[in-house]
């Protein structure tokens, strides 16, 4: 067996060598970083699309962007943010951290893991290829315009001519296969490669939530891929799965899509729960309240989330009994979610709170996600949903869940684990700017959407007439969008500045308790020189306090 030249490619190597190192890497940490960088890139792209949408809605009867381009913008924005921003970011963070947290040297299938990343990246590239085909170069007119959930029969050849929808189908399905490979790898890693002595009820909560998350990916993504293959067959092979005029069913697409789509919401939010469950105890200087109930609630959420998909379809005319069941199941999911919120609050209660940037993002997450959850309960009520479905109220709800929830937590995670990944601290000052601009901008952007939605503004309209009471709220939203854009800019500036001249972090800058802090920052390719034996949920506490270890009490 050959001996490598060094454990890590040094920064002084030629650029080509460094690039080659990244392209050929099977190190889960580097793959995680590449996922996160990919996510950042697409965040900028999706963010620009969002800003264009908001600019168009600044005033009534605006002609900045035409209706077709507007349809393409919201389709690309939604698809990008879900498949190519939140998914890669959570995948990246999980890839980086899970093996470190469970005290192993590597993942179960390192090459498969690398394949997952490249499939995700090429999936994104395929989606955006649409801008370089057809009449795109002469006016950017070839992007898909069917919304991120691409309802049939809008996607049929009769209504979606050209290849734009194909790029959407192929891009998302290729990245979906990438997500599946990630999930297979993660489940195998967590179940088979934990440090000696680390029982499944002793892994960090982030690992627990990623395990359930990976199971959800394994269950939810295949139906989407199957539906997309059926759609390709409809478009290219003369099949009629989703064509009602030939015996197919347009509703079948909705069922298959939302059987993926609702668990996908939890796929995106469970890692956020995990991150928060790591950050809050450390910055409260308290152990997480109710570890077992947290893990159980995660499993319950995973299970129930598979049985609520038709609450996205209350307005299609299902049987009342079905509506009642899906409404009740949607209410039910609030119970385990409530348990989690209660546990986080109980952890904060009486703690010695340290208001560092990761903690601010965690608290931001808590408040925003709570609002998103409460509006979710409103929408789970069938009559309310009939009233506000497909209005801006719904847009506000899911942004509070997925941006105020998932992205806030993921950014908090970036602040929390950046020192581990780079050996440098992110600037607190720039972090504060980032947080407050994002928090204020976010609430200015999405808060008023609840009102414009209740006032009847439908989602996806490219413009609106004056005198309906929507102008003011849209203008507030647009101002909020730009404030938020500046906030994101501060995030990237902070990363650049810290990488260049950040304060040295040390191995364990937060005085934390989980295994990733037991190795150097950044960790070597093999993670740990020695694999530690684990006896409790807080192995570092046991090492730091040999006179008073946790294992005596667990």
């Amino acid at each position: 067996m050959a001996i490598a030249e060094s454990g890590q490619s040094s920064a002084s190597s030629p650029l080509v060598t460094q690039l080659h190192g990244w392209v050929t890497t099977v190190d889960h940490k580097r793959i995680g970083i590449m996922y996160i960088l990919m996510s950042f890139f697409f965040m900028v792209v999706g963010g620009i699309e969002a800003l264009l949408i908001r600019m168009q809605l600044w005033v009534p009867d605006n002609t900045l962007i035409g209706p077709d381009t507007f349809n393409q913008l919201f389709t690309m924005h939604g698809t990008t943010m879900i498949f190519f921003v939140v998914m890669p970011m959570l995948t990246g963070i999980a890839n980086y951290l899970v093996p470190l947290m469970i005290g192993c040297r590597d993942v179960a299938f390192p090459r498969l893991n690398a394949l997952g990343f490249w499939l995700s990246l090429f999936g994104g590239c395929i989606l955006y290829t649409c801008y370089f085909t057809g009449d795109a170069l002469y006016g950017l007119g070839s992007a898909p315009d069917v919304g991120w959930f691409a309802y049939a029969p809008l996607t049929s050849p009769a209504y979606a001519r050209g290849g734009a929808v194909d790029y959407w189908i192929l891009g998302t399905s290729v990245s979906g296969v990438g997500a599946l490979t990630f999930a297979v790898n993660l489940v195998a890693t967590i179940l088979t490669m934990r440090a000696p002595g680390m029982k499944l009820n002793q892994v960090p909560l982030f690992v627990w939530m990623m395990l359930i998350d990976a199971w959800l990916i394994l269950v939810a993504f295949p139906p989407l891929t199957a539906a997309q293959i059926m759609l390709i067959l409809d478009r290219y092979a003369g099949a009629h799965f989703f064509d009602p005029q030939s015996g197919g069913s347009a509703l079948l697409w909705q069922h298959l899509f939302w059987f993926f789509g609702h668990p996908e919401v939890y796929i995106m939010v469970l890692p956020a729960f995990g991150i928060i469950s790591e950050i809050i105890p450390v910055f409260s200087r308290k152990v997480i309240f109710g570890y077992a109930s947290m893990a159980a609630a995660t499993a319950a959420i995973g299970l129930i989330s598979l049985g609520v998909w038709a609450h996205h379809m209350f307005t299609v005319g299902l049987d009342d009994r079905l509506d009642a069941y899906f409404s009740a199941a949607s209410f039910l999911i609030a119970i385990p979610t409530g348990i989690k919120v209660f546990n986080w609050t109980a952890t904060l209660y009486g703690g010695r709170l340290q208001m560092r940037t990761p903690m601010l993002f965690a608290l931001g997450f808590l408040s925003m996600f709570l609002i998103g959850g409460l509006t979710g309960i409103m929408l789970a009520t069938v009559p309310v949903d009939w009233q506000v479905s497909d209005s801006y109220f719904l847009v506000a709800h899911f942004h509070y869940v997925l941006f105020g929830g998932s992205l806030f937590a993921l950014m908090g995670g970036c602040y929390y684990w950046f020192p581990k990944a780079t050996g440098k601290m992110l600037s607190e000052k720039l972090g504060l700017w980032h947080f407050w601009l994002l928090f204020i901008g976010f609430n200015l952007l999405f808060g008023p959407m609840h009102i414009s939605g209740i006032l009847g503004m439908p989602r996806r309209v490219y413009t609106y007439q004056a005198g309906q009471g929507w102008e003011f709220w849209n203008q507030v939203s647009t101002v909020g969008a730009f404030i938020m854009g500046f906030g994101i800019l501060f995030f990237f500036i902070n990363i650049a500045v810290s990488l260049r001249s950040g304060k040295k972090a040390g191995d364990d800058p937060w005085d934390a308790w989980t295994l990733e802090w037991a190795t150097s920052s950044p960790p070597p390719s093999y993670n740990f020189e020695q694999i530690l034996a684990v006896r409790s949920r807080r192995p570092l506490w046991d090492l730091k306090h040999p006179e008073d270890p946790d294992w005596k009490y667990e």
């Binding site: 067996m1 050959a2 001996i3 490598a4 060094s6 454990g7 190192g21 392209v23 050929t24 890497t25 190190d27 040297r105 390192p110 090459r111 498969l112 690398a114 394949l115 490249w118 499939l119 990246l121 090429f122 999936g123 395929i126 085909t133 290849g163 194909d166 192929l170 399905s173 290729v174 296969v177 990438g178 000696p196 290219y236 200087r285 308290k286 152990v287 309240f289 570890y291 009486g350 703690g351 040390g506 191995d507 364990d508 005085d511 037991a518 190795t519 150097s520 070597p524 390719s525 093999y526 740990f528 020189e529 020695q530 694999i531 530690l532 034996a533 570092l540 090492l543 730091k544 306090h545």
Partner: protein
């Protein structure tokens, strides 16, 4: 990748550690998949090239796995870049908290108290409900039949006069529903009461009945449309209060036991160990 025994905490430091060899095949395979997909909306030539790349990359990938090429010995990083030993810390976190080295409540009511409370409350509630039947002139069996209508679909079309008649099936079903609900609520409160602040009778006799009545009021139309149509809400709420107060009193009067005595013995042993 296998963990060698040399990686245990008691072993001496190895000079190198076996790790998977970096490889471009996953990237090449993904590129092949991408091209295969891209050929569908553009030109099948892309798909053919993609297929060729997929086959080549799988061959290369598996070929590498089947030889010694799969792994590479990574030398340890320089000593100054290694993790510092973890030193004992003088910083303390907060004192024991619930769920962490501290079981709250320390003393609880035994499960049997909840069961007894539920049975006693249920009995008093049945008396109040029967009094309503007698005072309203609708008869002793009327409240029982209303309760049984939750299960018996024939009762949906019955008149008030018919609902006042004795029915054996309704009696059995009504008693079963009432007993099961009383036991469930009693047990629930028995477990919950020690964890709540202030007087258990307040929670059992005031808050509980109010919450339960509100819940039933909201869902009665779905759970039992017949009862929803014919029930007298003041009497219904009065019977809930009777249940709650009696159940609370029975639970409060029971002797509390140590919470640890409810933990299975095996767990206790491991705690002690």
């Amino acid at each position: 990748m296998t963990e060698s025994s040399s990686n245990s905490e008691t072993s001496p430091h190895p000079e190198t550690i076996a790790m998977p060899r970096p490889t471009a095949w996953p990237m090449v395979l993904a590129a092949g998949v991408g091209l295969l997909a891209l050929g569908i909306p553009t030109n099948m030539i892309f798909s053919l090239v993609g297929l060729g790349i997929i086959i080549t990359s799988l061959y290369g990938w598996f070929g590498q796995l089947l030889t010694e090429e799969a792994e590479v010995e990574e030398p340890l990083v320089a000593p100054e870049l290694r993790a510092k030993p973890i030193k004992p810390s003088h910083k303390r976190v907060l004192a024991a908290t619930p769920g962490q080295r501290l079981e709250l409540p320390e003393k609880v009511h035994p499960y049997s108290a909840g069961i007894k409370g539920g049975l006693a409350g249920g009995a008093v509630m049945a008396v109040v409900a029967s009094m309503y039947g007698l005072f309203s002139g609708r008869g002793f069996w009327y409240p029982i039949n209303l309760l049984a209508a939750m299960i018996l679909p024939d009762f949906a079309d019955n008149t008030i006069a018919e609902l006042a008649q004795f029915s054996l099936a309704a009696l059995i079903i009504g008693v079963v529903i009432h007993l099961a609900t009383s036991l469930m609520v009693g047990l629930f409160f028995g477990v919950l009461l020690p964890t709540l602040p202030s007087s258990p009778v307040f929670w059992g006799g005031v808050v509980g009945p109010l919450l339960w009545s509100a819940f039933i009021y909201a869902f009665m139309g779905v759970l039992n449309p017949v009862m929803s149509q014919y029930v007298s809400w003041p009497w219904f709420i009065a019977s809930q209060f009777a249940f709650g107060i009696v159940m609370g009193l029975v639970v409060v009067r029971s002797e509390k036991i140590s919470a640890q005595s409810l933990t299975p013995a095996t767990n206790r042993e491991s705690h002690d160990g």
